[in-house]
């Protein structure tokens, strides 16, 4: 067997707030296309546009969901999805979902969607806020207590992340939380490490999820290295038998 070079996805385990305005590893933004039309997609990293694409949303479009890995978009020219001459183009159905996530690396991304015919009409600018109807998902791996804040209205929710147990563990579980300008529903969510919380925004929102208190790892029993024998007071008195 030819041994492969395998790298650990360290960004998954670094501790930092998850912010809808700066998409990083373990966060996903889902945009809902409720209207047919032609859109232009801009993906920014550190303020610089790193990827542009045309999106056609039509009644005839068959694709209901497309998830784009922002960390691998630089390879878009090699993708088989797209017309090389006309640039990258995605075709989706009305009411479909376009997801943006980051699979690896430490980069923070933002995405913007504008109507091609009316560039001033922005359908999405994640750096500013998430429009109503869109969703923001966070996959939480470090056990502990997290606070979710909607910076648009100040609403807060608590997320408790329990450590995963090998017995019957399935990582592909998600909890849905609704957020409007005033509050999250529910306000308290319990999940297991590696599971996701999906926030569905009913009003424009800017969401931030941060670790408030990490769960203490169970201390491992310390191996006794020394054995001390104590002599009882007075000289040893061993009876001869």
């Amino acid at each position: 067997m030819q041994k492969k070079k395998v790298l650990l996805n360290r960004a998954m385990f670094s501790i930092r707030p998850y912010d809808s305005s700066a998409l990083t590893v373990l966060t996903t933004l889902f945009h809902h296309f409720s209207e047919a039309g032609n859109y232009e997609l801009f993906v920014r990293r550190g303020g610089t546009v790193i990827h542009r694409a045309a999106i056609q949303v039509s009644e005839k479009g068959a694709q209901q969901q497309l998830n784009l890995d922002l960390a691998s978009l630089r390879d878009a020219e090699q993708r088989e999805c797209c017309d090389k001459e006309a640039g990258t183009r995605y075709t989706l159905a009305v009411n479909s979902i376009l997801g943006f996530y980051v699979s690896q690396g430490t980069g923070a991304y933002s995405v913007a969607l504008a109507r091609a015919e009316h560039k001033e009409r922005q359908a999405l600018d994640s750096a500013a806020h998430i429009p109503a109807g869109d969703l923001f998902a966070v996959t939480l791996v470090r056990p502990g207590t997290y606070r979710a804040v909607n910076e648009e209205g100040g609403a807060e929710a608590m997320i408790r992340v329990r450590p995963a147990s090998p017995k019957d563990y399935r990582p592909d579980q998600a909890e849905l939380v609704t957020c409007d300008a005033q509050a999250f529903k529910p306000k308290r969510v319990d999940i297991t490490s590696g599971h996701s919380v999906v926030f569905r925004c009913e009003a424009p929102a800017r969401l931030r999820v941060e670790l408030v208190e990490p769960a203490e790892s169970a201390p491992k029993p310390r191996k006794e290295m020394r054995h001390t024998l104590r002599r009882s007071s007075g000289p040893a008195s061993r009876k001869a038998t």
Partner: protein, 305 residues
């Protein structure tokens, strides 16, 4: 009545057999890819011990010949499946479709681990066979078959002249199956567990990864599709899948029966060396036959014209 009769005692025959047997070595390696895992071996063996029994029924019995492993490496490679978090779908109200989350993976690719423990000191096998003694004529003018099946097994050099050759020709052979002791299963499991664990960072990250893969021991058993007894599984591999047992049996058969005579007599046989300007005196040997008796091997031949 034969013109010549020659007898070799059982003790002398034993020493001749020991000399020949000492030169039988075998080494081989192979690696087979089964997709999610690779299995292979890297082995080297020689023969030791064994007793020779010449019997009255014209047979010879070689008993308890030890197969000594100088190297008995088992190569096990695992292609660990992707370890990812996230994923799953959530139901959304119409007209929004169900939304499926991406999976984020811990490693950039499926990690591989490989171990190659050496169990030479833990495995012992014996080989015994019963056969006969066979005399064959080696005619130097007849070309060797091509390819020569004895090319890698021949330790007795090819003669430069015609010869009568006496071979030990095994008829039935008993060869112990590979039987790995219980400790081998533990050693393999420990080595694989260490190799997999070494890939994973410590602390809560390890707890999470172990939860995803369901524990290292279970992962290993799942990938390799092995039952409870690793040692039994390994024994089956060596006995059946790798075909090593058949190979060793064939090797021993060919080594003694076809490739290396235990004794050889030149034809013509020199009875007086060249001396005083005279050419050597050689007599042609004809109709050579060999028999085993209880205490000795007896060779008889005629002096031909």
């Amino acid at each position: 009545m034969a013109h010549l009769t020659l007898a070799v005692s059982e003790g002398t025959f034993q020493r001749s057999f020991d000399l020949l047997k000492r030169n039988l070595t075998f080494q081989d390696s192979d690696l087979q890819d089964y997709g999610a895992f690779t299995l292979g071996y890297d082995v080297k063996m020689h023969l030791e011990g064994g007793s020779v029994d010449l019997r009255d029924d014209n047979t010879i019995q070689i008993k308890e010949l030890d197969i000594r492993w100088d190297r008995l490496k088992v190569i096990i490679g695992l292609d660990i499946p992707r370890i990812c978090v996230g994923g799953g779908c959530i139901n959304m109200p119409w007209p929004i479709p169900d939304i499926c989350l991406p999976r984020i993976c811990v490693f950039s690719a499926d990690p591989d681990v490989s171990i190659s423990p050496d169990f030479a000191s833990l495995v012992a096998q014996e080989i015994s066979f019963t056969g006969s003694l066979v005399a064959r004529y080696f005619d130097v003018s007849v070309p060797l078959p091509s390819p020569d099946p004895c090319q890698l097994l021949r330790v007795v050099p090819l003669p430069g002249n015609n010869q009568w050759q006496i071979f030990v020709d095994p008829q039935t052979m008993d060869l112990d199956l590979f039987d790995f002791p219980d400790i081998v299963g533990d050693l393999i499991e420990d080595a694989l567990t260490s190799a997999v664990t070494a890939l994973i960072p410590g602390g809560w990250v390890r707890d999470l990864i172990l939860a995803i893969i369901g524990g290292v021991a279970d992962l290993i058993r799942t990938i390799l599709d092995i039952p409870d007894d690793i040692e039994e599984w390994l024994s089956d591999l060596f006995n059946v899948s790798f075909g090593l047992l058949d190979f060793i049996g064939t090797l021993v058969l060919d080594f003694f029966a076809s490739c290396n005579p235990i004794y050889a007599i030149d034809d013509p046989f020199e009875i007086l060396p060249a001396a005083g300007g005279l050419i050597p005196v050689r007599i042609p040997i004809r109709n050579l036959s060999v028999r085993a008796h209880d205490l000795e091997m007896v060779v008889q031949a005629d002096v031909g014209a």
